[in-house]
Every structure is written in structure tokens, then in C-alpha cells.
Amino acid sequence: MVRTLSGGSGNVPRMSEPTRWTADQVLAVAPDQSSLASARKLAGSADWSSVGVAQQAPVLWGLCKGSGKSPYQTCVDLTEPAYRCSCPSRKFPCKHALALLLKWSAGAVPVDEPPAWVEEWLESRSARAAKKAEKVAAPRTEAQELAAQKRAQSRHDKVLSGVAELQQWLSDQVRNGIAGLESGGYRHFEPVAARLIDAQAPGLAGAVRRLATIPSSGAGWEERTLAEMSMLHLLAGAADRLDTLPPDLAATVRSRLGHPVTTEQVLAGAAVRDVWQVIGTRDLTEDRLVARRVYLIGRDTGREALVLSFAAPGQVLSADLVVGTCLEADLCFYPGSFSLRALVASRHGAPELMVEPEGSTSVAAALDRLSRALGADPWLMSLPLLIDGVIAPGERWHLVDPSGDALPLEPGVECWRFVAAAGGAVSKIAVEWGPAGLVPLTMFRDGEVLAA
């Protein structure tokens, strides 16, 4: 049975067809701009045949004529989402998968029964997933456990020696004065950072490297440098007496020092099931690695979560969580006194389109939330907030709520797109809080999802 869908999908019952993404959401999963440009062209071309979307499973497929004899088989599982295409491209998703998504988003993909090759792929995927789950579940042997403990102890000793050197270095800076750091350049910091890498404290090394950028960051650098040095000092002190700290706080300190936590360890923790609303994403480059931060807020728990993924330059970042959708899932949080970072342990159904996220607050309530988070983890450098307000341009930009309460944006951050789109009307705005100010991420307004 083939039927063509009518334009508005609002009345279509939930199980009959997965919720269509908007074009913006398709854009968000594109690995780069050139794939997007090709996909845009491809979506409108006559090269497609046998396209369809399954009635029951959230799967899209189609055949696309390429340069070879047989057409490429392209298939998208919307649950994760996951992509498969028989084309030779190493980009994920490739232009064919993107084009298929664009077609679907435009309502040009009819409901149909999946062909055999699609079924095969789905089966092989679920088989792989089951195997992985088995591996996770397998307990360690006693010998493995012992070896792991030994490694951890020797590592901890190394870290402590690095921490002691860091404390000495920090004291030296304050004793000799930090006024000269502005002209000292990165070279002044690099030996300490390198030493901390050797001491297996990559978290501390990263913090020192971030510190190195502050003296050249313009007016007010002295205050910011001193503040971050003091936070490092606090962290070093905590590392020194890790055994005396409550277990959660100790876990936070360990993660700030850079102790690795394995995926298995995280997944072994308790899961939080909720409808997770994907409210914003931000890509940052650090140490020649691109880190994608995806922020979620639980619809029922109100809990914030951060899912991180990394890619080397040229590699494609994971795009499995799409801003403006929500998904029912189990999230496992990394251990800590205030745990923000999480992994998606298991999904229950396909992501759904979210017209407006729930749980937005006033500026005052957001600050309340923030102080509680900082109370649990004083080293917190970022937290997603969802605020009802307006972006107000000015010499320094602000996010202001209807009561007139406002928070400054990070210096130098502007967001004319939000200003133009809102026209002064209050909207739900997702921001990332940081010590320097807010960074706007997403605006939800009139059923539209706008990335900054």
C-alpha cells in the first residue's frame, strides 16, 4: 500500500509514521556545508527511486542513481539516528542520506513496506547492539580487578606529585606577582602543563592551558586570571585530601583532575529515565580536537544533562541528538557531586519533534538553580539554562526576562538572529552559563527552533 501524505502531519496518529523533522533539524545533522549543498541539489533531482518511510519502524530508505551502474542504497534509522549508504563517501551522514532526510522533511516520501535490503540492515544492527550489551554486562575477573586497583594506585601517586608541583607553581606566581603574565605568553605556562600531562593529570593540564589564554583576553584579565588560579589552587588542595572528601565530591575532583572514567563504569550506574529534551548544542575546538556539547533537560525531572562527543579535524562529529527533538531514554550520569555529563544508555522509541521545551524559568529561578549547582561543584564551568526572556543588544548584551531581571552575555557575544526573529517578544531561550557570561544556544518560538 502506498499513500502520499498530506501536508499537515498534526492529525496523523502517533504510531502511523515517525514525526517528520523540520529542514533546520536536517541541516543540524549535516557533517559540513558542502555535503549540505550537494544534498540540497540531490533532494530535488530525479535520481531517486523506491523511496519510502516505514509505517511501524522509524526508517527511511531510497535508491539514488550514482555514477555507477547500480543505484546507491540509502537508509536512515531515525531512532539514533543511524545512517547507511552504499556510496563510497566517508562522511556520515553522506549527501544521499541527507538528501533523503530533506525529501522526507518536505513531505515527499510516501509510507511503504521496507524492502528486503533495509530489513537486513536493521537486523544486523540490532544483532551488533546485543553483542555490545553482552560485553558491557560481563563482570571482570578477580585478577583483572586486582590489576586495575594497582594501576589506579600508581596513577594516583603520580598525580599527587604533579599536584604538589602545581601548588608550588601557583604560590610562586602570587609571591612574584601576576602583573607580568600579560607579556609572558604561553611559554610561561607550558612547562607546568607538560609536567601535569606526565603526571597523568590531563584535566589539570587542560585547566593550566586555559589559564594561559586569559592574560591576553583583554580588559579585566587580572581579575579573571587570579580567579581561575584560585580555583586551580582549590582543586589541587582537594586532590591532596581526596580520601577525606565525601565520595561524590571526590568523584568530581577526580574527573576535574582528568581521571578516566570508562563507558562501562558510567553505564553501570543508575539510569535516569525521562523524556529528554535536546535544547542546544555548541562546538568548541580545544587541543586540535573539536568537542560537541549537546545539552538536554529532562521534561519531568527538570534535570540538566550534557552529552559530549569529540572529533579530530576533518572527522565528522556525532549528530545523533537533534536540537528541537525530545526522546524518551535512560541516561547514565558520570559520577560526581553535581553530575552534568551523561551517556545515553538506552532509547525508548524514536525522537519526537518538540514544539516548545518544558521547564523554562525566570532569570531569578535560573540563578537559583545555578547557585545550587555551584554549591555542589564549585569548579563548574558550564551549565545549560532555559529562560523565558528577550535578548537585549547593547554595549554589553543581556538576556532579560519580563520582570526586568537580566544576565549579561559573554563579552563579545552577539546574537542578532534571535533579536530579529523575536522582535522583542518573550521566547524560550536556551543558553550556556559560564563564569564570563551567557552564550545563547537556541531560541524556541512559534513552533520554530532557531540555532544561534
Binding site: G177, A364, L370, P393, G404, A421, G423
Partner: protein, 495 residues
């Protein structure tokens, strides 16, 4: 309370506790639990601990600042473009790396379509549109047209940021602007005065003549193009006696636009003096032998630019400034002179002068004759073709296409879109015959065709494509078909 302690900590840390020990006068209550009972002097670790406590307290205890809530934008009266058209605009505005030029031309077409149908761009696209039009001023009128009330409101949120959006000053400029304004404002004032009362404008300019800087004065003379008439010739002739070349150049611009001016007669005399008919269809050229004071007075320049001989340079200036009419002294159908046998090496220089004169004077007869010369090509050809009426141009392009010359793209780029059916038919028929052609000029031609052919031609192109074998020409046609399809869809999305 923390506000008093912070500066003490910072000032010690800045110069170093070694030189400026930190002795906090008072430690506020809750902090005492961190720092211990008011220590006499903070060693570096103590100073850092105190700073850490204050830093966390400041972050966690941050209070909202008070900022005025921005004024809401006025209610829009116009209608926003249909949903599908808006989605298209969003895609066009993406900063996609590939094929910048094509995307820009599609954007331009989208804006034209919206403007013709009185649709507005969705507010979420305004900031990207403003960025595009800030980079490319030719987009500005269209962006202002589709921006609606929201655009003006947006500009008011960032005062001075997008001066081009903000409303221009009062429609009747004020005399104050003349006395105290910048040059652009003064030019505007003088123009409006000239439009109403040219004589009064000229008198106002005469009053300030002595005190103006050369660049300003030249701009103000230029403003007198408004309301220009024969009575301006007197003072413009006087301006030619000015020592400053900028002033003389500005004055001859206007004198050239006064029919029957003495300046034009002088240039005609100079030009005719260089050319002599020596037998049937034969012309002998003798460029000026010397650069005299009279030539300098008429704003000709003596020093030739690189690549030009001195006398050739003088000749080309003289011929390009002479009215084309004057050549009827040599032949009753002056454009026929282009076909004359010209002795020596001056033929090219003379033709260059005529070409410049034709472009400046927008003479159709000369333009058509020049366009047919095989040596005229490139940007010159496009400039000349733009002078021709659409019908003539279509005919000319048709001729060129039938002859399969490589001047096609230059000619076609002068034909404003949408092309008349006659021209479109010629182009399509030619595409059908051109399967064997494969040269680098193709991409330029393709760019012209894909943005000017009516998008409905996509079906004709698809038919050609269906008959076309594999190879490079097929790729070219595929791309053309795809672009036309995109444009076709774009037009449909507005329906």
C-alpha cells in the same frame, strides 16, 4: 562585604606578596570559617584560598542586573512569504562553501520574486539578509523591501550599525546641512536646490568656491548635474581656468552633457583634425603632435598610463570625448567609418576611442556596428551590447550563436533576464547542437544561461539531456537542468 576584600587580594597578587604582603583588615563572617580567625598576613596559599572562596561566592551568589526590556517590534502589516518559499530562503542564506556565485544569484532572484509579489522575508532570516546586503550593496533595496517594519525596528536596536537601513534624512534637506554637514549631506542639499532653482544653486556654489577643498568642490560641481542647462556653461567654462585638475575634470563632465557646448565643439575640432579621408573608404590618422595648454584646460591628461604611447593616449582621449555626431563631416553614415581602411598602426587606438565614446554617449547605431566587429570582445562587448534594445540584442545573439563564435557569453550577459522568447528559443536550439563543444569558456556561458533563461525552459533542457550521451557535455547540461529546476521550484513556491 566581599567587595572590600577582593581589591586587597588582587593588588597583592598583582605585584606579588613578596613586595606587597596581604593583610586583610577584616574578614567577613562566613569567610572566617575558610580562612581561620583573621590571620595577620596571608601567605600565597592563604591568599589563593581566600580568593577561591570569594570567586565561588561571587559566581554562586550572582544577582540579576536590571536592564530595560526592549520595546516590542511594531505589528507587521505585510504578509510573510509562503512556508516553502521561506524554507528555500533559509537554505539560500546558509553559508554553504560551494558555488558562492550561484547561490548569490539565486538569492537575488528570490528577493526579486518576493518583492514583485509583495511578500516579506520571515523575521528569522532578517539578520542573515542584513549581513548579505551589508557585504553586497546591490542587494540593499530588495532587502529593505522584503524586510517589512521589523527591519527598521532591528536597525533601531543597533543604532549606527546598519546606516543603510535607517531612513535617510528629511526629504527636503535643511540649509544647516549646507553650512555644517559632511560633504555627502551638502551634495544632497545642493542637488535639491538645483532641482528647484538651478540659478540659485549655481550662485550658492559661487559663494563658497574660494574656500572649498578641491575634492569637496569637485563633488559639489558634480551635484550641479541636477538641473543642468545651457546657462551653466559660463561658470563651467570659468572653472576650466582653475589650476586644480579635479575641478577641471568635474567641469568637463558637465560640459560634455550640455548639447552644443563650446567644449564639445572644441573636442570635435580636435578629433576631426586627426582624421582625414584619403580616397574611398580610406582614412589617414594623424594623432596630436603636441600637448598644448588648451588641451590641458579641457582636462585632457598629458602623461599616458602604462602600456600606452603618449600620442596614442592623447588621440584616444580626444576621440572618446568628441560627440559621435561630428563624424558625419567625414561620412554621411558615420558609423560606417568603422569599416574604413585605416593606415598606420592607429586603427586600434581610433576604434578604442570610438568605443569609449559609444559607451559614454549610449549611441545605438555605433554600438550595433561595434558589436559586429570580431575584434570587440570581453567586457567591452558586454558594455556595448547593454546599449542595444532587447530585440536587437536577441537578433545579434542569434547571429553569434549560429556562427558558433566564442563571443556568445559576452553578448548574452548583456541581455537582461528574463530573456524574450525569441532569444530563449535560439539559445535552446543551440544547446541542442553543441554537444561536441568542450572548452573552458563554457562555464562562464553556463553561468549566464542558467541565471537568465526562463526557468520553464527546464523541460526543453531535460529533453536535450535525454538525447545526450555520456561525457563532459552531459555534465554541463545536467548542471544547467538542475539549476533551472531549482529556479522553477523557487518560482512555484511563491505561487
Amino acid at each position: 562585604m566581599t567587595e572590600a576584600l577582593w581589591p586587597q587580594l588582587l593588588s597583592s597578587a598583582l605585584v606579588g606578596t613578596g613586595r606587597r604582603p596581604c593583610r586583610p583588615l577584616s574578614v567577613p563572617g562566613p569567610l572566617a570559617t575558610v580562612l581561620g580567625e583573621a590571620p595577620a598576613e596571608l601567605e600565597p596559599p592563604g591568599l589563593l584560598s581566600a580568593t577561591a572562596a570569594l570567586t565561588v561566592a561571587r559566581r554562586a551568589g550572582a544577582m540579576p542586573v536590571r536592564v530595560p526590556v526592549p520595546d516590542p517590534a511594531p505589528q507587521e502589516t505585510g504578509e510573510v512569504a509562503p512556508h516553502k518559499a521561506s524554507v528555500r530562503l533559509g537554505l539560500l542564506l546558509l553559508d554553504a562553501g560551494s558555488d558562492h556565485r550561484q547561490r548569490r544569484s539565486l538569492l537575488r532572484e528570490w528577493l526579486e520574486l518576493a518583492q514583485q509579489r509583495n511578500f516579506l522575508a520571515a523575521p528569522r532570516h532578517l539578520s542573515a539578509l542584513v549581513d548579505a546586503a551589508t557585504a553586497d550593496p546591490t542587494l540593499r533595496p530588495a532587502v529593505i523591501a522584503v524586510g517589512g517594519l521589523r527591519l527598521g525596528w532591528l536597525a533601531a536596536q543597533g543604532p549606527g550599525r546598519w546606516a543603510w537601513i535607517e531612513q535617510p534624512g528629511p526629504s527636503v534637506p535643511d540649509i544647516d546641512e549646507w553650512h555644517t554637514g559632511r560633504t555627502a549631506a551638502r551634495v544632497r542639499y545642493l542637488e535639491s536646490l538645483r532641482a528647484n532653482d538651478p540659478a540659485q544653486g549655481a550662485a550658492l556654489l559661487a559663494q563658497v568656491w574660494q574656500q572649498e577643498r578641491a575634492a569637496d568642490l569637485a563633488a559639489l560641481i558634480g551635484a550641479c548635474a541636477e538641473g543642468l542647462g545651457a546657462e551653466d556653461e559660463v561658470w563651467l567654462e570659468r572653472a576650466l581656468d582653475d589650476k586644480r585638475v579635479q575641478i577641471r575634470e568635474a567641469a568637463v563632465q558637465l560640459l560634455a552633457a550640455i548639447p552644443g557646448s563650446a567644449y564639445l565643439a572644441r573636442m570635435a575640432d580636435r578629433a576631426l583634425a586627426c582624421c582625414q579621408v584619403t580616397g574611398s573608404g580610406q582614412l589617414t590618422v594623424t594623432p596630436p603632435a603636441q600637448f598644448d595648454a588648451a588641451m590641458r584646460r579641457d582636462a585632457l591628461t598629458q602623461k599616458s598610463p602604462q602600456g600606452w604611447g603618449e600620442r596614442a593616449w592623447w588621440l584616444v582621449q580626444v576621440v572618446s570625448a568628441a560627440p559621435l555626431r561630428c563624424w558625419s563631416a567625414l561620412d554621411s553614415d558615420p558609423a560606417r567609418l568603422l569599416d574604413y581602411q585605416i593606415g598606420d598602426d592607429w586603427a586600434g587606438v581610433l576604434r578604442e576611442g570610438w568605443l569609449r565614446a559609444t559607451v559614454a554617449q549610449r549611441d545605438e547605431a555605433w554600438a550595433l556596428r561595434l558589436c559586429r566587429l570580431p575584434v570587440v570582445r570581453g567586457a567591452h562587448l558586454t558594455e556595448l551590447a547593454a546599449i542595444l534594445p532587447a530585440g536587437t540584442l536577441a537578433e545579434l545573439a542569434g547571429e553569434a550563436l549560429r556562427q558558433q563564435t566564442d563571443r556568445i557569453a559576452d553578448l548574452l550577459s548583456a541581455a537582461p533576464p528574463p530573456w524574450p522568447p525569441a532569444l530563449a528559443d535560439v539559445v535552446i536550439a543551440w544547446l541542442d547542437r553543441s554537444a561536441a563543444i568542450d572548452d573552458p569558456g563554457w562555464w562562464h556561458l553556463l553561468n549566464v544561461i542558467e541565471r537568465s533563461l526562463h526557468p520553464a525552459a527546464v523541460s526543453a533542457v531535460n529533453e536535450i539531456l535525454a538525447r545526450c550521451g555520456e561525457g563532459r557535455y552531459r555534465e554541463i547540461l545536467e548542471r544547467l537542468a538542475l539549476t533551472l529546476q531549482t529556479r522553477y521550484d523557487m518560482h512555484q513556491e511563491f505561487a
